[in-house]
Symmetry: C2
Subunit: 302 residues, 2 copies
DNA sequence: TTTTCATGATAAGAATTCCTGATGATCAAT
DNA sequence: ATTGATCATCAGGAATTCTTATCATGAAAA
């Protein structure tokens, strides 16, 4: 059974380079007998001589030369692998799989993807956009590395850090623009358009209005904030959207935006990952980048 | 200082493959704690986690996957290197540099090169044709691996093995064809054509005639047996050639060949190499191939 | 919940490997 | 012959690696 070690390859390389046990041993920072033994062991395990010993030094055999060529290549690969490790130690490298809920993704992702790739060249970012429940499950399965969702998640196996808090604003037809801002109770009596079941934002909006989320509601639910705003523009009703969505969603729709009186409805957005994730340190740094990116987004004047 | 071992790489590969310490340890034929320790050591030396531990097994991190890809490549190269060693153990491989003296080379080389490459596919044969002195020097310098010369060489640092003994035959003009074969003493009085100084064959011929080789001689010396035979054909004199040369050299010249009476002049041809050469075993086998090749050569009828 | 099971980590001692320093053997040059 | 240089060998000790036994943790089952 042939079985040499990287150490032997390194010693071999030194001896091939110097052609002299004493000097090669010095270069390898070991004693000459240690080098002799390792070379001998290497040759024995290979069953073929690598060097021809002479009184004035040693010389590679024909096989030794072929061996040296491949050995150097292996040592080079090993060095590169070590370099890769060194370079990856603090930087995030390779693949980052991040999940984001649909009511955040379209507004936050362009910025944070840009910031992350800028800060970490060579980082491949995969994005998964789906409902919170799915994200939590995929996080547990190791299908994604982190998720950006509304807090709290309250999974003991997950670490969660808050990123920012955002208010919800009222979206109503332009005709209503000047009218007073309705209270939560008034809102309950209005025709309130909401997202489909499963979106946490739907539950948050209902909660603000003190409406039990289980209660069946008349009217169609929308599958995206964009659709909701279009429906408001068509005069079907009113809705709430997170303020982060205002800039994007009201660009092409003729609707009026109004802030609620204090206490404004709001939600806390955070990032979560497995407590056991070895990326914990890097994920914490990423969460900071995301926080800064979010803070830099334009706030709607309302 | 990062410094991992091939062993760690192999263990890592097993764990990456099985995703389970126990099964990977079994596959690597070690205990589970031993695997745990080596993986931990590897991760510590890299300064970055390779696996994410979970209660139902382990999973590669993003960096772990990049690492695995390169690690597998390294392990593959190592395997190939071991294969190379195994394949080279008994077979002669790579480069064989062999020297042959000019009075043998043209007659023996075609056959033995053919035989050697047939027996050892992948063997590159380099041939050096020069005088014995040069061959011995180049042998000592490691510029060639073996030499085929007339014995004895009497260098204590060299191993010499006899290959075959060949007689010398007389080459004389066709007009002399029927005449009795001259004795060594008679030969001394005839016009004997010889090779230049430095050829051992010149000394061997002179020795047969009991002529001191130091004595200056009239007439031009030839640089090859071929020229000698041409000169005989032109009626300039007579000469001796090794019987191995007869078939080739008398093909196109009109000369007569005659064997001497016993004891016929002869020389022993052998192969020599450095005693320290690690190719010793293979060279001995090669010498046998050469011996057989020589024996198979057609003997002149004379 | 409590128990059980599976998984990886840790600890202690034994086995193995590796290294150092001293010495030996060989060869060449003086 | 003597000296100097070179590589091999040896013995003892240091370092590494392995095994067995045990622990800690979390998930599944009762």
């Amino acid at each position: 059974m042939i079985n040499f070690t990287l150490r032997q390859l390194r010693y071999f390389e030194a001896l091939a380079r110097y052609g002299h046990f004493g000097r090669a041993a010095e270069a390898a920072a070991i004693s000459q007998p240690a080098l002799s033994m390792q070379i001998k062991e290497l040759e024995d395990s290979l069953g073929i001589a690598l060097f021809e010993r002479g009184p004035k030094g040693v010389r590679l055999t024909g096989f030794g030369e072929a061996f040296a060529e491949r050995a150097r290549e292996i040592l080079r690969s090993v060095d590169e692998l070590e370099d890769l490790a060194r370079a990856s130690r603090d930087r995030l490298v390779g693949r980052l799989r991040i999940g984001v809920i649909p009511t955040i993704a379209p507004y936050l992702l362009p910025t944070i993807i840009h910031e992350l790739t800028r800060a970490n060249a060579g980082l491949d970012i995969y994005v998964r956009e789906t409902l919170t429940n799915n994200l939590i499950r995929e996080l547990g399965d190791g299908r994604i590395d982190a998720a950006i969702v509304a807090l709290p998640v309250s999974e003991p196996s997950l670490t969660e850090v808050a990123l920012f808090t955002e208010n919800f604003v009222l979206v109503r037809p332009v005709a209503d623009a000047g009218r007073p801002v309705p209270s939560a109770d008034m809102l309950r009596e209005m025709r309130l358009l909401l997202l489909e079941e499963g979106h946490c934002f739907r539950d948050q909006a209902l909660s603000f209005c003190n409406i039990p989320s289980a209660r069946p509601r008349e009217g169609l639910d929308a599958s995206s904030l964009s659709t909701l705003v279009q429906m408001v523009g068509a005069g079907i009703g009113v809705t709430l959207i997170p303020e982060m969505a205002v800039a994007v969603e009201t660009r092409s729709a003729s609707v009026a935006i109004a802030r609620f009186d204090e206490p404004q409805p709001a939600r806390t957005v955070g990032m979560v990952w497995r407590k056991t994730s070895p990326l914990a340190r890097q994920l914490l740094r990423i969460s900071e980048i995301v926080r800064e990116s979010a803070a830099a987004l334009p706030t709607p004047v309302a």
